[in-house]
Every structure is written in C-alpha cells, then in structure tokens.
Symmetry: C2
Subunit: 303 residues, 2 copies
C-alpha cells in the first residue's frame, strides 16, 4: 500500500513537530505539497511583498517512521515527483545574489506543459526537484533554513531517482517535504526557482546507528555531502574535511594521500547561495567508496 | 604549418613580456610546457618546500598574434593536450582548503599510462587540462594568479575541444600557456592537481573589437564566464551580473525577466578555491545565446 499525506503542514523542523501518520520502515508514501508561498500567489498582479510571510515554505508531514531512533539514518528514495501545471517565479528588492539591483518586485506565472515551463515567452525544460526535505532536529528551525537535519537545501539533484540519507535526531525521525521546483539552476540566484505545488512519492527506510553528520545524497555515479553554512568557505572546508576522512577510511590510505586524492577526484559544487545558510555539494565518485563505508566514516556522535 | 614554441618561459603576464614568435590569426601552434614546479621535482624525496619557488608556474611563450589590438578578443581553440608519463601531486603545510591540518609536506609521483594516473596505488582516469593560459594585461601579474587576462584559472574544462575567448590588452595579445594537469577536481582542494609537463596544440584567431570583460569558455552545450576574485561571493555576484546582462541582451527581455531566467537555467560552478584569487564558472546554456551576442553584451570598455 501507499500511504498518503495531505493538508498537514509544518513551518519548522524540530521538537514542536506532531506526527500526522506512523509508517513502518520500508513504506512508500505520497505527500501532496503546497508551493513555497503556500499557494497564495494566483496571478502576476500578486507581488511577493504583499503575501502573508508567516506561511512561507510549508512542508507536508510530519511522518513518524517506526523504529527510527536518535543516531540512525533515514534513507529516503525519491520514486517520483509530479508538479502542477503552473509555477511562480519572482524577484523582490533585496532578494538573491543581485538583490541590491532589484528596483521593484515582479511576479511571473509559468505555465507548465509536456515537461516544459514557459517564462514570459522563454521555453525551459523542467527537471522537478525538492527544495525542502528533512527531519526534526534538536531545536525548532524554520523550513526556510538548511542544516544538518536537511530543511531548505534547495539542491536540484534531490530529484527522481536520487536517494537522500538524513541523520535521525528524535524518535520516529519526523520527516516532512515541501517547496517543489519545476526547474532551478545551481545557485538559485534570484532567490526563487519555478515554485510549484505537486506531489512526491518516496520510500522511507531506517538504517540503524549510521546517522551521517550532514545529509548525504546518492545520485547517478556519485555521492554528495550536502553541507550548509552562512560562510560558503566554511561549508566547503567542513565538506572537504569529511570527504578526506571518507577516502582515508574507505581506501585505507594516509590522510595526506586522501587529501591529494580529493584534489584529483572530488568536485566542489553549489546547491544554493541565497538562503540564510548557503548549501554546497561535495561530490565523491562511487568508484572510490561504498555507502556503508561513507556513512561509517562520517557517523555523527550523538547521544 | 604548425608553429612550435619550446624552451621559452615567462613567470608573469604583462608589459614585460617579450614575444618569441609572431603568428598570423588562424595559425596552429604547439607549445611544449614544463610542469608547475618547472620540472624540479624528480622523485618523492623532493619536497615542495625545498625547491626554488621563483620558478613556480612557468608559462610557455609569449606568442605575438598579428593584427590583434587592445579591445579585440583572442579565440583559442584547444585542439590537443598531451601529458608526460609522470605527474606530481603534493601537500604542503598551509596549502589548500585544509592547509592548517597539514602536518608535513608530502610529494607523490604518479605514473601515467593508457590514460590513467596511479596515485600511491589508487587508479584515476586522466582528463588533461590547462591550468595557466592567458595574455599580457596592463600590469605584470604572476602566472600563479588568475584575472581578466586569464592566468592561473585552474579550470578543468579548459581541455581538448574547448574554446577560450580572452580579452586583448596589448598589441599582439602576447599569449602563453603552462601548468598542465593530467587530472584535477573542481576546487583543486589540496592546492595541486596531477602536475605534468606536456604539449598543447592550439588554434589562435583574432575577433575584432569584442574583448569580453572576463574570459569566456565554450565547451559542449554551454558557455562559461570565468570570473576570479579573492572573495568568492564577489566573483559569483560579478558573474551573475554579466549572465543577466547577456540574457537580457540576447533574448530582448527585461532585466527582471533575465534575472528570473538566470535563476532557472544558469548554474554557479567552481573552478578552484585555492589560488590567490578564487575562480568561479557561470554556466549559460548555448540554447539561450549565440557567442557574438554574448561577447557584445559583456564587451570591455578599454581605450
């Protein structure tokens, strides 16, 4: 059976989350999600500056996953993402990399059809992705902020076919998802992607005692460490430190050799640079490491 | 005919460069290059801390390209890169993203055979690339530093099949190339790639009056703006500003629509984060812009 979750939203991840459904490890769940504006924008005359900001970035859930405890990993396999037939893109003064150059807010509605979005006459291929995805951490954190618990990582590789490994902090994990984008570039430079409502189908599994210290994504031939920090240089540093530890552990080589190997085969990538914390991806080819070794190497010490 | 340049090296790009050869626009040139250590490291007992640092990052050239003047673009088509059968990788205290964690210098010699490098038992597929490539700017700049003139951009997409567009500052452009890597990840996190000597074959063409304000790379289905700055956030900001200008100009859309489109289709990428200035790539799909429009949109105003 496929569980369904609808009409239950949270605006933060943390101890205040109350589960709306309990599922066993191995369950498949379909979650219906609102867009990041809680579907408040109906046409181009509605500006982002006019809507109720307390409703920004709703995530659908939370789901209690039985038998998941602090220190475990939650494995989330993304089976499908369906997006609505219209999306919203917006600029706002102060928003995004060029925020200081934005003179006035503008809203655009994109029609979405046959896998393409139309932005004021420009045709763009859709690659649906999940912006907000995570579990309850030790403190309540707004859904707009990314962190070790996941949250607003705005990583466009969190798409159909990817697997996300999240650390579990609280009994049942308390998993939620929202903020789909029909398409978004690496960086999300203007502060929005093509924001859409839709539904996501996922399989949820518990992996005992292997909570990674940051979310890990598996996609195609690579693993990615998803590290978020206000200072992008610190995010890269933290991520590279972990990547070197992973290569050292997996291949049984010295720290120095692992550091050199990282310089040759690990890639630094950008997920987004516009949220309160920036998110980077540290890409490690699967050929150098198995997922169990990777999770072991960066297991989080939490009691 | 193919011109050959050998045994003539510079350590900086700028007015002090004296051309060793003059070629017409459209010429094909093969340049023999030393590795970034000027081939001083012969075995693993030679540490980077022991060599003559005044010889670091030699570039072969310079080549005077006839009819190229200030304000033109130099189009460099990379026809081939051949690397030697051994490369050097090294860590040094203070070097790279984790420099403060490096306790001792270590040198590794990689043997290179059949397109693979061996780093202390680990096999790595080679993707040869050019680390240092550029023209004379208005002031002498060490070959170790990247900038508008090119230089040490350490961009692993500057490989066979790519085309680089550089702004011309001085009569004849004064083009030079060095610092080949058999392989290097995005970031070059330990501060070296797999450093090799070798030879590069290029075609050099002059495009009149279209000097781009930063180097532009054409590779596969995309263009990339290569922007360098001490502060990576400023490099991204400068690059995105140009990308928005390019989309606005090419598609005849408003600045706001171009900013939104950039958020959906432009990607922020990392070339390197370890040189005196960091280099980022702003990736723009070719489907939205032609190269002439791109160069027009970011033409440098220099007199």
């Amino acid at each position: 059976m496929v569980y369904k979750v609808k009409d239950s939203y949270v605006n933060s991840f943390g101890p205040s989350m109350k589960p709306v459904i309990k599922v066993k490890s191995g369950s498949v769940v379909t979650l219906h999600t609102l867009d990041c504006f809680s579907n408040q924008i109906k046409d181009e005359s509605t500006l982002v500056t006019e809507i109720d900001f307390s409703k920004i970035n709703p995530a659908t859930g939370p789901i209690f996953v039985e038998n998941s405890k602090r220190g475990d990993a939650l494995k989330v396999r993304i089976l499908d993402i369906e997006v609505a037939d219209r999306g919203v893109v917006a600029v706002i003064p102060g928003g995004g990399v060029l925020g200081s150059m934005v003179k006035k807010p503008v809203t655009r509605i994109c029609t979405i059809k046959d896998g393409y979005a139309m932005l004021n006459g420009v045709k763009i291929k859709c690659i649906p992705m999940i912006g907000v995805i995570g579990v309850a951490g030790d403190e309540d954190v707004s859904c707009g902020v990314p962190g070790r618990h996941g949250g607003n990582m705005d990583t466009n590789l969190i798409r159909k076919g990817a697997i996300l490994y999240l650390p579990v902090f609280r009994d049942g994990a308390l998993f939620a998802v929202g903020d789909l984008h029909a398409v978004m570039g690496d960086g999300e430079v203007c502060v929005t992607g093509c924001e859409v409502s839709g539904k996501v189908t996922l399989e949820l599994d518990v992996i005992k005692n292997l909570a990674p210290s940051w979310p890990v994504l598996e996609f195609g031939e690579n693993y990615y460490l998803l590290v978020s920090h206000e200072d992008i240089n610190k995010a890269f540093r933290e991520g590279i430190k972990l990547a070197v530890k992973i290569l050292e552990h997996s291949l049984g080589i010295s720290w120095e050799d692992a550091y050199m190997l990282a310089s040759l085969v690990v890639d630094l990538e950008i997920s987004q640079v516009v949220d309160p914390k920036k998110t980077v991806r540290i890409k490690i080819p699967k050929k150098y490491v198995k997922i169990e070794q990777l999770l072991e190497a960066i297991r989080m010490q939490i009691l």
